[in-house]
C-alpha cells in the first residue's frame, strides 16, 4: 500500500530531468548555505562575546582591587566591621554598572576559612553561591588568580540566562584564609542579538534556496520544454503524422535543435513519400503484369486443353507432347499465381478481410479436398478437434490457403504415415497444428522452410509441382493476421507446423494453445540422447 506512491515518485524521478535538476540544485545550494551560515554565525558569536568578556574582565579586575582596597583600609581591630564592609562592597559593586553592563556580585568565604570571627559571604540579588560552578571556585582557590567561565543561571522569572562568571581571590587582613569575589555578567543582550542574527540568516537562507530552486526550475524548463515538444512531435511522426513540425523561435541552440529536427522530419517525409511512390509503381506494375501475362496464358491454356482433349487422334509423340504441355502449363500457372501473390505482399497491397469463422470448418474442407492426394500417398489425415467451435476473426480465404499448403506438404513429406490436424483454442487464440511423421526437418531447417524457393534437398527430384513459394505465402498470410507460423521438426521423427491466430484482430498473441512440439512426440521417443532440435520462427505483425 505504501509502496505505490513511492514507486510513482521514483518513476517521476527517473522520467523528469527537470525534477532531478531542481532537486540537485536545491540540495547542493542548501548544503553550501548551511555551511556558510554556520561559519558566519560562529564569527558573529565569537566577536560579540569576545568584546563582552574583555569588558567584563576589566570591570571585574577593577572591582576586585576596589574590594581588596576596602578591606585593606578597614579598621582591623574590630572583626565585625568586615561584615559591614563586605555587604557594602557587594551592594556597591553590584549596582556600579560599567561598560560591560549590569552584573551580580558574590563575595564568598573560601572553604578553608573556618575561624569563628570570619564573616560569612554575601551576594547581590538572585545570585546564590550554588550558581557559581564548583569547577570555577576550585580553580580560583588553586590558582589564586582571576579566572572566568561561561555558564547559565536560572532566573526567578523562569528561563535560563547565559552568563559569564569571573572569579578572583580577595584577602581580608587578620582573617586567616581567602575569600573569593565573583562577578556574574548576564549575556542575554548578546543572546538576543545572536538570536536575531540567526533568525535573519535562516530566513535569508530559506529565501536563497527557494530562489535558487525556482531559478533552476525556470532554466531547466526553458531547455526541457522544447525537448519534450521534440519527443512529442517525434512520437507523432512515428505514428505516421508526417506533417508534424516543431515551432522554431529565435536563433539559439534550441531553435537550432527545432530547425534540424524539422529538417530531419522533412527529409524523412520525402523518403517515405518516395518509397510510397515506388510501392505504388510496384503495385501498379504487379497489377499490369498480372493482366498482361494472364491473358495470353489463358489462351495458351485453352489451346493446350483442346489439343489435350483430342490427343487420342495424334501419334504417340505428339500425344505425349500434348500431355507434357498440359502438366507444365499447370505448373507455370501455379508458379505465376504464387509469384503474383507474393509480390502483392511485397508491395504491401495485400488486404485482410476478417470475419468470425469456425476454423474447424476450414480444416474439414481442406482435409476433404486433400483426400484424393492422401489416398494416392497412402496417408490418413485425421482431424483432432475435440471441442469447438474454434471461432476467430480471420480471412477464411487466406487461412484456407495456409492450411491447404500445410496439409498438402504434410502428405507429400509424410511417407504414408498418418497425419494429424489438431485444433485448440483458449480465450485469446486459436491454434492449428499439422503433424506428419515423415522425414522431418534437420537442424536449422525449421527456419529455412519459410524461405522462398527453398528445397529440403536440392538433389532430390522435384516430384511435386509446388512452386517453392507456398510456405512463404503461408507465412505472409499468417503474418497479416498478426499470428504466428512456426515449424518443429526432427530427422525421421516428422515435423509439426503450427498456426496460431488471435481470436480478434489487434490482439497481441502471448501464447499458443498447442505446444510447438507434438503431443505424441515426447511419449513416443523419450528425450534421452541429446536434445531435440527446436527452432522457432516467431512472426508477428510488429516486425515487418
Amino acid at each position: 500500500m505504501v509502496r505505490r506512491p513511492w514507486r510513482r515518485a521514483i518513476a517521476q524521478w527517473r522520467r523528469s530531468i527537470q525534477l532531478r535538476v531542481v532537486t540537485a540544485t536545491t540540495v547542493l545550494s542548501m548544503l553550501v548555505i548551511v555551511v556558510l551560515g554556520t561559519l558566519l554565525l560562529n564569527r558573529v558569536q565569537a566577536g560579540l562575546l569576545d568584546a563582552k568578556v574583555q569588558a567584563a574582565l576589566a570591570e571585574a579586575a577593577t572591582g576586585s582591587s576596589t574590594a581588596q582596597d576596602a578591606f585593606d583600609s578597614a579598621d582591623r581591630t574590630d572583626p565585625s566591621v568586615y561584615e559591614t564592609v563586605l555587604r557594602d562592597l557587594v551592594d556597591r559593586l553590584a549596582s556600579a554598572g560599567g561598560p560591560a553592563g549590569a552584573n551580580d556580585v558574590a563575595l564568598l568565604r573560601g572553604p578553608q576559612t573556618t575561624s569563628a570571627d570570619a564573616p560569612l559571604g554575601a551576594s547581590s540579588f538572585e545570585l546564590r553561591p550554588a550558581t557559581v560552578p564548583d569547577r570555577l571556585r576550585r580553580s580560583v582557590q588553586t590558582t589564586g588568580d582571576q579566572v572566568w567561565t561561561y555558564g547559565a543561571i536560572s532566573r526567578a522569572s523562569g528561563g535560563e540566562v547565559p552568563v559569564v562568571t569571573i572569579g578572583s581571590p580577595v584577602v581580608i587582613p587578620t582573617v586567616s584564609g581567602p575569600y573569593e569575589l565573583y562577578f556574574v555578567f548576564p549575556l542575554d543582550k548578546e543572546q538576543e542579538t545572536l538570536n536575531l542574527v540567526r533568525r535573519t540568516l535562516a530566513l535569508a537562507a530559506l529565501g536563497l534556496v527557494l530562489l535558487v530552486g525556482g531559478i533552476a526550475w525556470l532554466v531547466t524548463r526553458q531547455v526541457v520544454t522544447p525537448v519534450r515538444m521534440a519527443a512529442r512531435i517525434a512520437e507523432r511522426l512515428a505514428a505516421g503524422g508526417l506533417e508534424e513540425r516543431m515551432r522554431v523561435r529565435g536563433e539559439d541552440d534550441l531553435a537550432r535543435l527545432a530547425a534540424s529536427f524539422n529538417r530531419m522530419a522533412t527529409s524523412l517525409q520525402r523518403q517515405i513519400r518516395q518509397l510510397e511512390d515506388l510501392s505504388r509503381v510496384q503495385r501498379r506494375f504487379v497489377s499490369d503484369v498480372s493482366h498482361e501475362l494472364r491473358t495470353p496464358l489463358t489462351t495458351v491454356r485453352m489451346a493446350a486443353d483442346v489439343l489435350h482433349e483430342a490427343r487420342q487422334h495424334f501419334d504417340p509423340s505428339v500425344q505425349r507432347s500434348a500431355e507434357i504441355l498440359q502438366t507444365q502449363l499447370d505448373r507455370f500457372e501455379s508458379l505465376l499465381a504464387d509469384l503474383l501473390e507474393i509480390s502483392r505482399y511485397d508491395a504491401g497491397a495485400a488486404l485482410l478481410e476478417v470475419e468470425p469463422t469456425d476454423l474447424r470448418r476450414i480444416a474439414e474442407r481442406v482435409i476433404e479436398a486433400a483426400e484424393p492426394l492422401a489416398e494416392r500417398r497412402g496417408s490418413r489425415v485425421e482431424l483432432l478437434a475435440p471441442d469447438g467451435p474454434y471461432l476467430a476473426a480471420v480471412d477464411s480465404r487466406r487461412i484456407e490457403r495456409v492450411l491447404r499448403n500445410l496439409v498438402v506438404n504434410a502428405i507429400e513429406h509424410g511417407e504414408g504415415q498418418p497425419i494429424d490436424v489438431r485444433l485448440a483454442a483458449d480465450d485469446k487464440a486459436v491454434a492449428i497444428a499439422v503433424r506428419d511423421r515423415g522425414v522431418g526437418l534437420r537442424p536449422g531447417e525449421g527456419a529455412l522452410v519459410f524461405n522462398r524457393f527453398w528445397r529440403a534437398d536440392p538433389a532430390r527430384a522435384r516430384t511435386t509441382g509446388g512452386s517453392g513459394l507456398g510456405l512463404s505465402i503461408a507465412l505472409e498470410d499468417v503474418h497479416l493476421h498478426g499470428g504466428w507460423l512456426q515449424a518443429w521438426g526432427e530427422p525421421s521423427n516428422g515435423s509439426q507446423f503450427r498456426v496460431t491466430l488471435p481470436r480478434s484482430q489487434g490482439v497481441e498473441l502471448e501464447r499458443s494453445p498447442i505446444p510447438l512440439e507434438p503431443l505424441d512426440y515426447s511419449r513416443a521417443v523419450p528425450v534421452a540422447v541429446g536434445q531435440p532440435y527446436r527452432r522457432t520462427v516467431r512472426t508477428d505483425a510488429a516486425d515487418d
Binding site: 497489377s287 494472364r294 485453352m302 489451346a303 486443353d305 470475419e355 480465404r397
Partner: protein, 228 residues
C-alpha cells in the same frame, strides 16, 4: 444434346483469347458471338440477344465495369466476368456493377464451361410454388417477387438466392452452402460472391438495407430468411 445450348456474347479485346473462347464454347455446343471493345458491346448485346455475357473487365473504350452496368440497366441476363485481378477491390467492384459470377485468368476451359452451364441452367421445371419471406410474396413459377402487390425486379441470380433462402426459412445457410445451391460450385469458392450479391439483393428487397429483415445475417455462420 440440343443443337444449341445457348447464345454467348464474348466481350474481350484480346482477339486470340476471344477466338479460343469461341472454339471452346462452340465445341461445348454454345453459339458464341465476339465483340472486341466496350463501345460496341451494348450494340452487340442488342443485336445478338445472348443468353449469357462473358465480359472482360479491362477493355479499350468503355471498360468492362461500365458495360456491365449498361447491360444490367436493361436486362437480367447472366454476366460472367473474366478478370486478371483477384484483389478484393477489383472483384467486388465487378460484382457490384452487376456481374453474377467471375472467372479468374488463367482459367481452365472446363472451369469456365462449368460456370457458364451453372448460370444457364434454369432452376428445375417450374413448380406452382408460392413462398413468403418477410412481407414479400415470391411466385417461383411466375418468377416474380411482390411487396404489397408491387413487383420488384430481380436478376435471375438474385431471384435464385432469395428462393433458396425462402424455401427453408428455419435454416441458416453458410456462404459455402449458398455457393453450392445458387452458383453451382461444388468446391468452396470465393465467399465474396455471396456477400456482394446479398448486398445487392438487400438493396432491392429490404425496406431499410441498413437493418435488413428479409435476408438476415447470422454472425459467424451465414444468412437466413427473415420471419415471414
Amino acid at each position: 444434346m440440343d443443337d444449341m445450348r445457348g447464345r454467348v456474347l464474348i466481350v474481350d479485346d484480346d482477339t486470340a483469347l476471344a477466338e479460343m473462347l469461341g472454339i471452346v464454347l462452340r465445341s461445348e455446343g454454345y453459339e458464341p458471338f465476339l465483340c472486341s471493345d466496350g463501345d460496341s458491346a451494348l450494340a452487340a448485346f442488342h443485336e445478338h440477344k445472348p443468353d449469357l455475357v462473358l465480359l472482360d473487365l479491362m477493355l479499350p473504350g468503355i471498360d468492362g465495369i461500365d458495360v456491365c452496368r449498361q447491360i444490367r440497366a436493361e436486362s437480367g441476363v447472366p454476366i460472367v466476368m473474366l478478370t486478371a485481378k483477384t484483389d478484393t477491390i477489383d472483384v467486388v467492384v465487378g460484382l457490384e456493377s452487376g456481374a453474377d459470377d467471375y472467372v479468374v485468368k488463367p482459367f481452365k476451359p472446363k472451369e469456365l464451361v462449368a460456370r457458364i452451364r451453372a448460370r444457364l441452367r434454369r432452376t428445375e421445371e417450374p413448380t406452382q410454388e408460392m413462398l413468403e419471406i418477410g412481407d414479400l410474396v415470391i411466385d417461383v413459377a411466375g418468377h416474380s417477387v411482390k411487396r404489397d402487390g408491387h413487383p420488384i425486379q430481380l436478376t435471375p441470380l438474385e431471384f435464385d438466392l432469395l428462393v433458396a433462402l425462402a424455401r427453408k426459412p428455419w435454416q441458416v445457410f453458410t456462404r459455402e452452402v449458398l455457393l453450392e445451391h445458387v452458383w453451382g460450385y461444388r468446391h468452396a469458392a470465393d465467399t465474396r460472391l455471396v456477400n456482394v450479391h446479398v448486398q445487392r439483393l438487400r438493396s432491392k428487397v429490404e425496406r431499410d438495407p441498413e437493418s435488413p429483415d428479409v435476408v438476415v445475417t447470422v454472425r459467424g455462420v451465414g444468412y437466413k430468411a427473415g420471419p415471414a
